[in-house]
């Protein structure tokens, strides 16, 4: 009974949905603030993302002629639900209570749903700009997804388990994967930047070329939920990488009693995800947008080869350890 109550608190309040939504808005604020300071501007105040979300919920919802309203209404909600669920399986304060063998695959799958949602919205908008944006989103998905999956799965290979929480425990006992697999870490960061469609990979939403890409015809609460999906993906993606490579909410020292380890774990989670956000924001500010065919070349030539090299190294290393 107590367990059920605690589980519900975990899922819905802290560190579940309520905390997640608040943290997503804080992430958006920090991202915009860091970018603004680097560009010599002032940047928004800290309640800006929250105010944007509330404002957009109140705006009028316009349906273009001949568009299926039910799909337009439900797809943003499905995308938001997918990323919020993915977040639940990542260790925040300790092992996730919903962990099971294979949850790394589930998280990766759920994190690709927003891109499919973008494609659906773009295609159904009956608007040439949205259709092109949707096509570009899916093309980009094909390019970065393979390397990204490979390097997220190499820590699982080395740790010998398919559960993120157990990978974190393995890192606590041995070493963080960022030191064991640095190539994988870099490829994962690049892949996350591409997944979130941030510069230099913001091709699907290139404002100066195709208006707003797949989101052109969304208004009101639909657009609010799609933006919130992007913010939550940023948190979930950063949490995933910090769990897989930076050891998640643990340090190589075991802390007792358990409530103290939860508090320390939470603080470590904050520090590590903020570090990853800082890296991603710097990449976003320091580069311009590349074209889709250039991304194709760079993606397959460099990023995919780096990922395959990483996998080869991991297989070689585990072969040596097994044989030795």
């Amino acid at each position: 009974m107590m367990d059920t109550v605690l589980l519900l608190v975990y899922i819905f309040l802290f560190p579940g949905f309520l905390f997640l939504l608040a943290y997503a808005l804080v992430f958006e604020y920090l991202d915009r603030r860091i970018a603004a300071r680097m560009q010599h501007r002032v940047g928004p105040p800290f309640y800006q993302p929250f105010a944007d979300f509330i404002k957009m919920l109140g705006k009028e919802v316009i349906d273009p002629d001949g568009v299926d309203k039910r799909i337009f209404d439900s797809v943003p909600l499905v995308a938001l639900a997918a990323v919020m669920t993915a977040y639940l399986y990542i260790p925040i304060i300790g092992s996730s209570p919903l962990a099971f063998q294979g949850d790394v695959v589930l998280v990766l799958y759920l994190l690709t749903l927003p891109t499919i949602a973008l494609f659906l919205l773009g295609w159904m908008s009956r608007n040439i700009f949205s259709a092109m944006g949707g096509i570009r989103a899916v093309t980009q998905l094909f390019i970065y997804e393979v390397p990204f999956f490979l390097v997220i799965l190499t820590p699982a290979l080395m740790a010998g388990t398919w559960s993120i929480s157990e990978i974190v425990v393995w890192q606590q006992k041995n070493m963080w994967f960022v030191f064991l697999q640095p190539i994988g870490f870099i490829v994962a960061l690049i892949g996350l930047q591409a997944k979130l469609e941030r510069t230099p990979f913001d091709i699907p939403e290139a404002e100066t070329e195709i208006v707003a890409g797949p989101l052109t015809e969304l208004t009101g609460r639909r657009l609010a939920f799609m933006h919130l999906t992007t913010d939550v993906s940023l948190v979930a993606g950063s949490a995933l990488i910090s769990a897989m490579f930076l050891g998640g909410p643990t340090i190589p020292v075991i802390i007792t009693p358990i409530w103290l380890s939860w508090i320390v774990g939470f603080l470590l989670f904050l520090v590590k995800t903020l570090t990853i956000l800082l890296i991603l924001s710097s990449i976003k500010v320091a580069t311009g947008r590349i074209r889709i065919d250039q991304l194709n070349t760079i993606g397959w030539k460099y990023i995919a080869s780096a990922a395959i090299a990483q996998v080869a190294i991991v297989l070689f290393m585990s072969y040596r350890w097994v044989m030795a």
């Binding site: 970018a35 680097m38 010599h40 092109m132 510069t199 290139a206 100066t208 070329e209 580069t287 311009g288």
Partner: protein, 393 residues
């Protein structure tokens, strides 16, 4: 994907002014382009025929916001030549200073816009912050950030005080340093290089065949520059050189414009330091003798040509303005074929289009001067009707 018509314009975030490119694309490659530049047409050439010289100068200045001084100087220079007037050297130097400051602010604006077109917003923010130094100088001198109103037939309207000259000189060294930094960035920053190099390439023969002017032409090695071909104002005395490049693509045009920024800074500094004393205007007869003049001026975007005919009254008989952007449209339409869709904003931005200069006619028909208001539903109905008509075309 089969051939698709993608409307770029008249309303589009990539365009600063309305123009209609109907791009016929096959996937991401452009097959053909159709052009319609009538959206900013304001009737200036016809209106200029009904105004005497004092009133026509402000009208011509408002052909364009960014190259306003170019139009009024070209016209004033032409009329002064018809009337056979020689304006005092101090006025010539002041006109040169404002002209070169205008060129600097235009090129800095362009550089920021080009960075924005490829999504590189950081560079855009930094450059526009440095552009404020030029705008502050212009505001101190003329009271306005655009549309300076410095010219009149026979000289300039305002003098420069020693404080203004010193304030301007003090701002120049910092700007020079920042420009050097931008040269460095353009040459070394990866995303800029891969989005600019090889895009929109025009060879020297194509430039001459399509009649391109200005930095677009100079980037392909064609060294036409009216400031040296047909010198006017103080350009014979100030030390400067024509900047050309051989790349011929958007990267070459960027290099040429940054080079021109450096040269303009040198000219401004020279003119500020060597400003001659004396009067700033001469008295002007009210009537111009009958004559015809072809006055050319190097505007920031290229060669501006005013063909002026007077007929012995105090109005012009005909003024025909050929702006640099009009001359460059043919080359843009030609070099866009077989390029990627994603490069349209970059290539169009590379000629630095100024559509207000290009289309100068609209007719306001106000015979029925009664007030009326349109309800929201009516507006919606009209805009939908217009869209459906356009779709059917």
């Amino acid at each position: 994907m089969p051939e698709v018509i993608i409307p770029i314009g008249p309303h589009h975030p990539a365009l600063k002014e309305p123009v209609n490119f109907k791009v016929i694309a096959d996937g991401e490659k452009i097959v053909r382009l159709e052009l319609d530049i009538s959206y900013n047409h304001r009737g200036i050439e016809k209106a200029a025929e009904q105004r005497d010289f004092i009133r026509v100068l402000p009208l011509l200045e408002r052909v364009c916001g960014i190259c306003s001084h170019s139009h009024s100087t070209a016209f004033a220079k032409g009329i002064e030549e018809i009337m056979q007037l020689e304006i005092p050297p101090r006025a010539q130097y002041i006109r040169t200073i404002v002209a070169e400051l205008e060129r600097m602010h235009s090129h800095l604006l362009w550089l920021g816009v080009a960075a924005h077109e490829i999504g590189f917003n950081t560079l855009f923010m930094w450059i526009w912050r440095d552009r404020e130094a030029v705008q502050d100088t212009l505001e101190e001198m003329s009271g306005n950030r655009v549309h300076y109103g410095m010219n009149e037939i026979g000289g300039v309207r305002r003098d420069l005080t020693p404080e203004q000259v010193n304030a301007a000189l003090v701002r120049l060294p910092h700007l020079e340093e920042r420009i050097k930094k931008y040269v460095d960035m353009v040459n070394n920053q990866e995303t800029l290089l891969i989005r600019f190099k090889g895009i929109g390439k025009l060879s020297k023969e194509e430039v001459l065949k399509y009649g391109a002017v200005g930095p677009t032409a100079r980037a392909s090695g064609v060294d036409y520059d009216i400031r040296s071909d047909d010198p006017y104002l103080a350009y014979k005395e100030a030390p400067w050189k024509v900047v050309t490049d051989t790349h011929g693509d958007v990267y070459g045009r960027t290099i040429v414009r940054i080079g021109e920024l450096e040269e303009s800074l040198k000219i401004v500094r020279y003119c500020l330091e060597h400003l001659p004393e004396g009067p700033i205007r001469v008295t002007v007869p009210k009537i111009a003798p009958k004559g015809e003049i072809f006055s050319r001026y190097e505007a920031p975007r290229g060669e501006l040509a005013h063909f002026i005919r007077t007929n012995g009254t105090d109005k012009v008989e005909r003024i025909d303005i050929r702006t640099p952007t009009l001359a460059n449209w043919t080359s843009v339409a030609m070099c866009l074929v077989n390029q990627n869709l994603a490069d349209i904003p970059v290539i169009v931005a590379a000629i630095d289009p100024c559509l207000s200069c290009t289309s100068r006619i609209t007719v306001m028909n106000d015979y029925d001067r009664k007030a009326s208001s349109i309800t929201m539903d009516e507006l919606r109905r009209q805009s939908r009707a217009r869209f459906q008509r356009a779709e059917r075309l």
